[in-house]
């Protein structure tokens, strides 16, 4: 039984049922039931036409649910077992399901949850575990999200940018539980790339591949983080890097730059350096300039200051950092790094300790604490 194939088909099957007259929420419920049925009925091999099988079973699940409802009201329903003929599934319908799940009326958390269920084909329990909340809470979050978009017409034009933001969130912000959210985000981004012709979508996929390629080098078996400069680059996945670089080069040629392409370009330059000393920091600063121009984001300005420190020396980096709001998360960590680079070890040690206090996650806090401890040892 090919679980991935099943999940891959989820949005298309929802799209078909919606075309056949079901509302989105009902279609989504029916397809989720059909997915469960498939995991039970396809133990060894899939049917010849998995999509057709899912459509038929989902339709039956819908009829069963409606019959149960009607039976409660002691009425009989005469309905066909087979779904009525509808227009064939199209890539557009799959994309519409993506749009609906990332609709701007949803909060980011709701959009993430709905996307993972209705296009990712994950169960509520899996999504709840991935985000460390009770299943009942996640179920409510998903059903509220479905209610929120219930008034949206299925054919309404959607905004690809909202879909990309949701996929970026899935990739970037999740716990590493049983469900590999980063891999899931890559799978979904591939699906969007296959049905659209958009530079930023390809840029996002490239960005994800280039970062995912470093995963084995980035996290030690005990869960602690290895900074880029200290990573064992032979652990990087060169196939994934090649795919990301290829994809990125193809879309950059089209000269329609966006934030994901620029971020991917930075990741590609890191991936391109066989040793950290060979990193092309001048080019990286150039891409940060582009990224800053596109996003005007203070976080980008902060990362740019660190890159300037590498390209033009610590004093230049500190000067660039002085232009960035000191209240920004990780500002102190960047300052510590640049001060150490400038040779001011005492100040750097103090700043690392302060940065550890303000770290937003345990892995970063431990890393920053170790940096402070390392410098304090040297200062003894």
């Amino acid at each position: 039984m090919d679980e991935l194939l099943l999940r891959e088909l989820t949005p298309a099957v929802i799209g078909i049922l919606v075309r056949r007259g079901l509302d989105f929420a009902t279609a989504e419920d029916a397809v989720q039931e059909a997915l469960l049925q498939a995991t039970l009925s396809w133990p060894d091999r899939s049917p010849a036409d998995p999509k057709g099988w899912l459509v038929t079973v989902a339709w039956r699940k819908f009829l069963d649910a409606r019959r149960a409802e009607v039976a409660r009201r002691e009425r009989e329903l005469k309905a066909e077992i087979e779904p009525p003929p509808g227009p064939p599934a199209s890539a557009d319908d799959t994309l519409q399901v993506f749009f609906l799940c990332a609709h701007p009326s949803l909060t980011p958390a709701s959009a993430v949850a709905l996307t993972l269920r209705a296009v990712g084909g994950l169960t509520t329990r899996q999504i709840a575990q991935a985000y460390l909340v009770p299943e009942a809470t996640m179920a409510q979050r998903i059903s509220r999200a479905k209610r929120t978009v219930s008034g949206v017409r299925f054919e309404s034009p959607g905004d690809l940018a909202t879909v990309l933001r949701v996929l970026y969130l899935v990739f970037n912000e999740g716990y590493s539980g049983d469900v590999d959210l980063a891999a899931e985000a890559i799978r979904l981004a591939r699906q969007v790339v296959s049905i659209t012709d958009d530079e930023e979508t390809a840029g996002l996929l490239a960005l994800m591949l280039l970062h995912h390629a470093r995963r084995r080098a980035r996290i030690r078996p005990d869960g602690s983080l290895v900074p880029l400069a200290e990573q064992n680059r032979s652990l990087w996945d060169t196939h994934m890097i090649a795919e990301g670089v290829d994809l990125l080069q193809r879309v950059l040629q089209r000269d329609r730059l966006g934030e994901y392409q620029a971020q991917a370009a930075i990741a590609a330059l890191h991936a391109d350096a066989p040793r950290v000393e060979e990193t092309d920091w001048v080019q990286i600063v150039g891409w940060y300039d582009e990224l800053l121009r596109i996003t005007d984001s203070p976080v980008v300005a902060l990362n740019r200051a660190v890159a300037v420190g590498e390209a033009d020396g610590a004093p230049a980096g500190l000067a660039a950092l002085a232009e960035v709001d000191p209240k920004l998360p990780r500002h102190t960590a960047a300052s510590a790094y640049l001060h150490e680079k400038a040779g001011d070890l005492e100040r750097a040690a103090r700043l690392y300790a302060d940065a550890a206090q303000a770290a937003p996650n345990l892995a970063e806090r431990d890393h920053l604490t170790r940096q402070a401890a390392r410098l304090n040892q040297r200062l003894r």
Binding site: A109, R144, S176, N303, R365
Partner: protein
């Protein structure tokens, strides 16, 4: 999304506006207070923001290791301990502002005279998972 801990203190928080101790409320006032807390939790379950909530007994014991082959040493409770946690609620929300809004609502739970307690709740962010993209 971010998880926050809402901490309720028996002692140690600044004084509430309506600070009449619970044992001097009327039974109805207590019922109404408990109902408010239960309703608040179910409402958060409904919005998909509830993670956990527990109450703690006021008296606890301090425990520490006392060396190989020896039983742990216990001590306390210490009557003079300044900070005493009464219970917590964990929420999973979209923003800090939303967390503050919810803590404000919880602090409005009715107390003596049916009036809001205006109790101080402590709001603490959880350390999250590290992001994948850092450069």
């Amino acid at each position: 999304m971010a998880k926050y801990l809402l901490l309720k203190h028996y002692r140690g928080a600044p004084e509430a506006v309506n600070s009449v101790p619970m044992d001097q409320w009327t039974p109805e006032e207590i019922t109404n207070h408990v109902q408010y807390m239960t309703d608040f939790a179910s409402r958060l379950e409904g919005t998909g923001e509830y993670v956990d909530g527990q109450a703690l007994a006021p008296e606890g014991t301090f425990v520490r290791y006392d060396g190989e082959g020896r039983p742990p040493v216990t001590d306390g409770p210490f009557a003079e301990t300044k900070d005493l946690i009464a219970g917590w609620m964990v929420i999973d929300v979209d923003s800090y502002d939303r967390a503050v809004e919810l803590a404000g609502e919880l602090s409005a739970a009715p107390g003596a005279g049916g009036k809001p307690i205006h109790e101080w709740l402590e709001l603490r962010p959880f350390l999250s998972a590290p992001p994948t993209v850092t450069e």
